[in-house]
Symmetry: C2
Subunit: 146 residues, 2 copies
DNA sequence: CACTATTTGCAACTAAGTTGCAAATAGTAC
DNA sequence: GTACTATTTGCAACTTAGTTGCAAATAGTG
């Protein structure tokens, strides 16, 4: 992981600093979106300052190593761009019950057919619903009530 | 418009108050998403307090008369739900150049096929790109440069 | 007209994200 | 290794969308 982080930084000609490596390692480890706060938590007590985290994420966004998603809670979520297509991110699913967001990386989706004159740079799909976990929990509760 | 606003409020059993009517009239008049601030602007000097606007929008969201979209700027955008399907809003297109968002109400889209166990409540598609207006403006500039 | 539950406006607050600046450090040249 | 400089970092102060508590105003009802 550490090596991959170094590699990624190198590939976009950014200096190899500990804060940047720690942030990249954290993003490499996870399979979902993370907020600035979650990144800091996961790095632990020696996490970089929040300003540094935001600045680093902005740089990685500019280099297109990282993507940003706006879900339903007014805070930005970030992830590595390596599971996204050229003009389309993988879809995201947010459970209205447990509020968890899942990256649907295995799923193929179509680009929307746009009217003449519009050109696409990135398409993002966001789905709200109930996740498998909460679905079965609800069923269990129903059975218990009977 | 005024009549339609009254009708809408009645249909969800909310009291007919001037702030609520003004907000609904504004949403009825427009063909795009609006922020709290834009709603206040459009109503003018007698616009309701921002607290009232947010509270009203939340009530209308609960009654499913209004939908909320999170685009790329950390502020919520609102619109009437009347151009949305049962489980899917119309797609939104944001121009990276002029920052304007367009409601693509005429376009048909598919629901993503979810893995077993996930159930959909609402699918939203958001596209970033260049709008027809900015596209032709760029072409014109190129020609001028030659 | 009177009554009450609901709604509104205001001021103070919360929290995500940004900015300016001085101190620290990565990469480079010797 | 040491010195140098451009870049990066941390901190504190700030900005701003959205929320909360509460007292005053008002829609609907009889
Ligand atoms: Zn869930
Ligand atoms: Zn994802
Ligand atoms: Zn445009
Ligand atoms: Zn729309």
């Amino acid at each position: 992981m550490n090596h991959r982080a170094t590699e990624l930084l190198g590939s976009v000609h950014l200096r190899q600093t500990e804060p940047r490596l720690a942030i990249l390692r954290t993003l490499l480890k996870t399979d979902t979106l993370l907020t600035q706060e979650q990144i800091a938590e996961q790095i632990g007590p020696d996490a970089p300052n929040k300003t540094t985290i935001y600045r680093t994420l902005t740089q990685l966004l500019d280099k297109n190593l990282v993507h940003q998603a706006y879900l339903d809670d007014r805070t930005s979520h970030f992830e590595l761009a390596h599971h996204c297509g050229e003009r389309q991110c993988h879809p995201h699913f947010t459970c209205v019950h447990c509020k968890q967001t899942h990256c649907l990386t295995g799923i193929s989706t179509q680009l929307v057919e746009l009217p003449k004159g519009f050109s696409v740079q990135r398409q993002q799909i966001h789905i709200d619903g109930v996740c498998p976990n909460c679905q079965t929990m609800n069923k269990t509760k129903e059975i218990e009530r009977v």
